[in-house]
Every structure is written in C-alpha cells, then in structure tokens.
Amino acid sequence: MTVLPDATPSPEGRRGRISRALNDARIRSVLIQVLTLLAVFAAAIWIVNNTVANLNARNMSAGFDFLDVSAGFGIGFTLIPYQEGDSYLRVFAVGIMNTLLVAVVAIVLATIFGVFVGLARLSNNWIIGAVARSYVEVIRNTPLLLQIIAWYFGVFNLLPRPRDSIELANGFVLNNRGFYLPAPVAEAGFSLFAAVVLGAIVFAIGLYVWAQRRLERTGQAFPAILTGVAIVVFVPLLAYVVLGRPVSWDMPVLQGFNFTGGLSVPPSFCALIVALSAYTSCFIAEIIRSGIQSVSKGQLEAAGALNLPSNWTLRRVVMPQAMRVIIPPLISQYLNVTKNSSLAIAIGFPDLVSVWMNTSLNQSGRAIPIVAMTMAFYCAVSLSVSAVMNVYNKRVQLQER
C-alpha cells in the first residue's frame, strides 16, 4: 500500500487532533473526572428520586421534626435520667451516654489486662508464655459476638436468683438480675473534700511536669511518680479523716425478691464488658508485645554499656521507644471498642444502636434521619480521635537529621 500524501487535511487532521487530545494525560484526566462526577450525580439523583417515591408511597417522612416528640418507651438502663414520656432527642442522648460508658469501662479493663497478658507473653518463663499465647490465640480466633452471647446466655443469665446471690465482697453482689455495688453518697463537707482530691491530683501532675523539665535541663532526677502517688493517696485520706467522713456508702440490700440501694448494672452490661475487654485485651497484648520487641537489641546493649540500672533501662530507654510503636494501634483498638460496643444489641443492652437504630427507628419509622444521626455520631468520634492521633504522631515522630 502506498501512503497518500497529506493533501486533504481536514477529516484526517481532525481525527488526529481528537486522538492526540485523548492521549494527552491532562485532558484525559479531566475527562475521566467529569465522567465520574456525572455518574455519581446520576446515581445520587436516581437514589433520591426512588427514595422520595418510596417514602411517599409508604406515608413516611424524612424530616427531623420527630426529635421533639415523646418517644413513649422505657429504657432498662440509663446513665442520665430518662422517663417514658421524654423526647426522641433524649433517647439519642441516653444511647450515646450508654455507648460511651461501655466503651470507657471496657477500654480501662482491656488495657490493664492486655498489658498484663502482653508482658506475660514476653516472660522468660516458658509456661507463662504458653498460657498467655493460648489465651490470645483462642480469644482472638473466635468471633466477638459469639463471645458476648456466650457470656450472656451461658454465664450471667444462669447466675443464682437474688435470694442466693454471690457476694464477692462486702456490698458487691452478683446475681441473675445484675451486678450491685455500693454507691457513694455525698455528706456534709463533700465539696471541700472533692476540692482537696482535685487539688492533690493537679499538684501531682504539676510535680511530674516540673520533674521532667528539671531532668531535661539539669539531668537531676526526682522520684515524681512515687511522690505523686503518695500525695494522691494520702492527702485525700487525711482530708477524709479530718473532714469527718464526707462520703458515705449506700449499700445494696436484699428487700423482698430483689436488691435495692447502691449502684446496679444489668447482666447484659456485665456480659458485654467481660467479653469486650477480654477480646480487646488480646489485641492490646499483641500490640504491647510487638512494641517492646520492636526496640532494637543494640539499645539494650547501649544501656548496659552505660551501666544504667535495669529499671532505668526499662523506663528511659525501652518504654519511650516502644510507646512510639504502641500508641497508634492502641488508639485504633480503643476506637474498635467503641464500634464493637454496638454489638450490645444482640443481648438487649440499650446502647446507641439498640435504642436508636432499632427501637426508635421501628417506633417512628424515620429511617433516614435516624441512620444519618447514628452514623454522624460514630464518624464524629472516629474523626476526632484520628485528629488527636495525627497531632500525637507528629510530636513523637523521629526527628530525622
């Protein structure tokens, strides 16, 4: 075939220009993005249209006006006061408080237990290491929901009736209605006592900060943690005696068929906390272990060469470096606890998902605002935590030269 000379450029040239334009990375990228945006908008419009049609057909509405309406159902366990006649907005608040309560309690317990198990895995004793390892493997490889339900149906529901309750310690009672513990009651002089406690804590923190600064400036150490603990323990004790018992304890007592007085949490709360903290403690244990193992051996040898005492090696060499590895995944575990607390619905504990996305949604039929509010809450928690995390990561990042 012979190639014709480019005599009539108009059709060929135009096609050439178009194909050249399509091969230009910038033009292509703009084109792709415009097409994607159009597709997303089209899908959104289609969904909105369908939703509006469906809502009209079912006589439902998507507004937020139902929030002031009385919810009209009771909630078994509330952290803030709530009555059946309260508004839906109040239900939302009750759900959030219950979710946060579960999350905070489970986080504290899981951290304590997780550190313990993580250190046990690093133990130079083979049996302790094996026990910790089997604990981690068994708990980590079974679903959390299964554990929650097993603890609820298999343990806390089968506890004896209130009459034959198990008394763990004076005032701490466990039975199939829940867990009862003494409640603190403010007496005369309580506010002064609270002020003293608060002051002691603030002073101890201040002392720690001052000791750190002095250590960095002069190299002289001050046992700030020991002193701080002593202040936080003994000053309130002294105040307690001097002010003549400003706090008394309201003990749970058996009256008729049930216990009254004191604080109480339902069995579902106990099951949730035990399962959540056991499950999370495994992941925390692994984080602690890998964090400590990530500190290179040379650091330990260097500390040994400087003849640092062994508790200094741990506190001033190993921990600061391990923390850099430990903190980010630890925080993401804490976020997971908050998200996993939503499994409460399976055993009927009234957390946010249970009272809001289930009961309120079924009662009011306002699917869209309720789902949006629930998701907004979880997004807000997770975004604020990751914002804090970013700041922390910037601070502890290695200063590379």
Binding site: S29, I32, Q33, T36, L37, V40, I47, N50, T51, A53, N54, L55, A57, S123, N124, N125, W126, I127, I128, A130, V131, E137, V138, R140, N141, T142, P143, L144, L145, L146, I149, A150, F153, G154, L158, K339, N340, S342, L343, I345, A346, V353, M357, N358, L361, A367, I368, V371, T374, M375, Y378, C379, V381, S382, L383
Partner: protein
C-alpha cells in the same frame, strides 16, 4: 650463659559450665531460672491443670451422650457435664441450616468443586497458577450459585454456569498436561495435532476452537441437569457463614485494590470520592451498615423491587470489607519506594503497566499477613448478620437453646461453634504465617 628454660605449665582446666544444651538445660533455663521464675512455673502449671481438667471433666467424663431431652441430661448430671445429644440432634442444622435434607448433597458437591478447583494450586509442577486462581475467583461463583440456589435457568444463566463448568474442566486438563509434559493444555493439543511448527494464527485458531468445543460441551451438559430451587431463607448454619464470607473475601480484594489506587490517584475528584467512601465505612460499626442496608436499600430501589434479605446483608458486608481492605492495600502501596515507580517510568511503562506489573505484586506480597488478618476479621464479622435475622452458624447455635426439647441448652452448642470458628481462623492465620516465611526466604539475608 646458662639459661634456665621455663616450661609453660597450663593452669588446670576449669570445670565445664553446667550443661547449656539438651532438655535438662532447657528446663532449667525456661522453667526454674530463679525463685520468681520457679514460682511462675507453678502458677502457670496450676492454671493449665485447672482449665484442662475442668474442660475434660465437663466435656468428656461427666458428659451425657444418650438422651431425648435436656431434662433427662439435667436429671442425670445437672450442670456438671455437657449434654451432647442436643448438639447431635441439631448438628445437621448447624452445618447446613434448614436446607432440604434430600438436597444437602448439592452443598457438599459445590464445596467439593471448589476444593477440586483449588488443588492444582498446591501441585508443584503446575505453572499457570495465576490463571487457575483467577478462574476460580471469576468462574467458580456461577457454578456454585447454581448448585446452591437451583431453579429455573434462562439462556444467559445457562451460559454462565457452563462457563463455570468449562473452567473447572480446563483447570484440570491444564494441570494434568503441565504435570505430564510441562505445557498448558492448549499448547499440548497443538503439539498433539502435529501443528507445533506452523504459524501462530493457525495455532491460536486451534486453541480457540478447542475452547469453544469445551464450552459447547459444558453447555450441553448443563442443559441436561436441573436442580429444584432452594430459596435463600432456607440457607443457614456454617454453609451460610461460608457463602457470605466467601463472597465478601472474593469481592473485597479487587474492590479494595481499586479503592486504594483511587485514593492515591492524582485526580482530585477520584481521590476525594474514594477517601470519602473509605473513611465513612471505616468509621462506623458494621452493624450500623447492616441496619442501614436492611432498612434503606428497599427505599433506594425503584418502587416495587424486592431485595432479598441475604443480598442486603452481602452488599453491606462487601462494601464494609472493601473499605477495610483498601486501607490495607494502601499501606502496602505506600511501602513501595519511589525508585520502583521511576524505574518503571524509565522503561516506558504506562500507569496500568506500572501498577499491575511492578507496584501491586510487591505491595500485595508485603501485605499478605495483614490481608489474611482482614479475611479472618471478615469471617468473624459475618456473625453480625444474625442480628438482622439471618440464621448463620452462630444464630443456629443460639436457636438450639430455644428448641422446646433442649430449652436453655446454650453452652454446649456455643462450645462446638467456637471450636469450628477457631479451627477456620487458626488455620487461616497459620497458613498466612507459613506463606510469609516462604516469601520472606529470599528477602531476609540474616
């Protein structure tokens, strides 16, 4: 000059150190190093002894093996021993759900087909493992869904099932020829016909013809079989758990790769959309997504569309898993040094060539443990579908205690189900550790 020679007299040998190797030394080092260590050994041994004896006593020694109802068990041993007849009576339901008993062989055959499909991946001489793996992901689902679902099949549905069947036959044909002669089945066929030296076009024609013939044969076979329909509401137990997690795993990897690439894209619209999707799905609990799809998917669809509840759950699980997988893959992508991109560019590779041949293979390889960890998480998370009313393995176990004959029998079924979950998850994690070691063999030079 008389010189007195001093004879070198060595010092007497020092006693050898106490044995540093062998079982005795190991015991001394790991169990009785010092007093606290010895104490810990006793504490640990006590814990192991208590737990093991408690479990053995409950599950084996004090257990009841023959009974008609839970009452009989309670009368015999109370709560001290397990009541296994209840679990045995429900065992078939735990595995297959309420699937019709006379059709259960279809489930077994479906999973057997998957095993048969995957076996060549572990045969050392088989070369086209990637093609086999891809075919399992792309074609097996059609075959399996017909096995499980059954019912009427139109012409397109028949063609898809036939593609699945043809894929299975091709996998084994190519595995056999590769083990025998080292050539994939197409090349082998060409050589058998004595056309190995002819031009490529003819060879390709022969291969295409053979593939077409295979497909036609499979199509004919598929038209000959027909299964009765089993509605998804009869699906349950371990079978349902495996279906949901299998679909979630199969979907989440490619979708996660696309999302991760999208998030790292230089096009602002694409990366914003991907980031929004990933962050939204990652920051809310799976249960809220399941609830959302359960209540809102029917609202989003055109009026009158019925969305099967299983489909709603699967859509929710897939999107959730994809968002998590995207972040894992992105971690892998970030670990690839920019020199790799520059090298690919200098060879004249375009974006997709660079991504698929240089970046992704390395990124996926270093993320294998995390990816498998994610699969395990997904497998465990499928228990959440029980909350929206599907009877997966866990919900089936809970249902045992609500049966009038076995009222309150919770611990035993939970124990069995826990074992099943543990075996699956532990096998997956052990396999990933094994794979990681194998892949790291060439990398670590220590």
């Amino acid at each position: 000059m008389a010189q007195q020679t001093q004879v070198f007299v060595p010092q007497p040998d020092r006693p050898p150190p106490p044995d540093t190797s062998g079982p005795l030394a190991w015991i001394r080092r790991n169990l009785f190093r010092d007093i606290p260590n010895t104490l810990m050994t006793f504490v640990g041994a006590y814990i192991i002894f208590t737990v093991v004896t408690a479990i053995v006593n409950w599950a084996l020694i004090d257990a009841v093996w023959q009974a008609e109802t839970r009452r009989e068990c309670l009368d015999a041993v109370g709560r001290a021993g397990a009541c296994w007849p209840g679990v045995a009576a429900w065992f078939e339901n735990l595995i297959y759900g309420l699937y019709p008993k006379d059709q259960v062989w279809r489930i077994n055959l479906g999973f057997l087909a998957l095993v048969v499909w995957m076996v060549p991946l572990w045969l050392p001489k088989v070369a086209s493992k990637i093609a086999i793996g891809l075919s399992a992901v792309m074609l097996y689902p059609f075959l399996a869904s017909y096995f499980f679902l059954g019912g009427e099949k139109g012409i397109i549905w028949t063609a898809l099932i036939a593609a699945g069947l043809a894929g299975l036959i091709w996998v084994w044909a190519t595995a056999l020829t590769e083990m025998r002669t080292g050539k994939p089945v197409g090349t082998w066929l060409v050589a058998r016909l004595g056309q190995a030296d002819t031009d490529e076009i003819l060879q390709r024609r022969i291969k295409q013809g053979a593939a077409l013939a295979l497909f036609a044969m499979a199509f004919l076979m598929v038209t000959q079989i027909s299964f009765e329909e089993v509605r998804t509401r009869f699906w349950g137990g371990l079978f349902l758990t495996l279906v949901i997690s299998g679909i979630g795993i199969t979907f989440s990897l490619p979708a996660g790769i696309l999302l991760a690439l999208g998030r790292r894209s230089k096009m602002p619209v694409i990366s914003t959309l991907c980031t929004l999707f990933i962050e939204l799905f990652r920051s809310v609990p799976l249960i809220t997504i399941l609830f959302m799809f359960n209540t809102m998917l029917p609202l989003f669809m055109p009026a009158g569309t019925e969305v099967n509840q299983l489909v709603r759950a699967i859509v929710a699980v897939c999107l959730f898993a994809a968002a998590y997988m995207a972040e894992v893959i992105r971690g892998g992508l970030q670990a690839i040094p920019s020199g790799q991109y520059e090298a690919a560019k200098s060879l004249g590779m375009n974006y997709w060539q660079t991504t698929s041949q240089v970046v992704l293979p390395q990124a996926l390889k270093i993320m294998i443990p995390t990816i498998v960890g994610n699969f395990i998480g997904l497998f465990k998370d499928t228990t959440l579908v029980s909350i929206i009313g599907l009877f997966d393995l866990m919900n089936m176990a809970r249902a045992v205690g609500e049966d009038t004959d076995w009222l309150g029998l919770f611990i035993e079924p939970f124990f069995v189900v826990t074992l099943i979950y543990f075996v699956f998850c532990f096998a997956m994690s052990s396999y990933s550790i094994n794979l990681e070691k194998k892949l790291a063999a060439g990398r670590d030079r220590t």
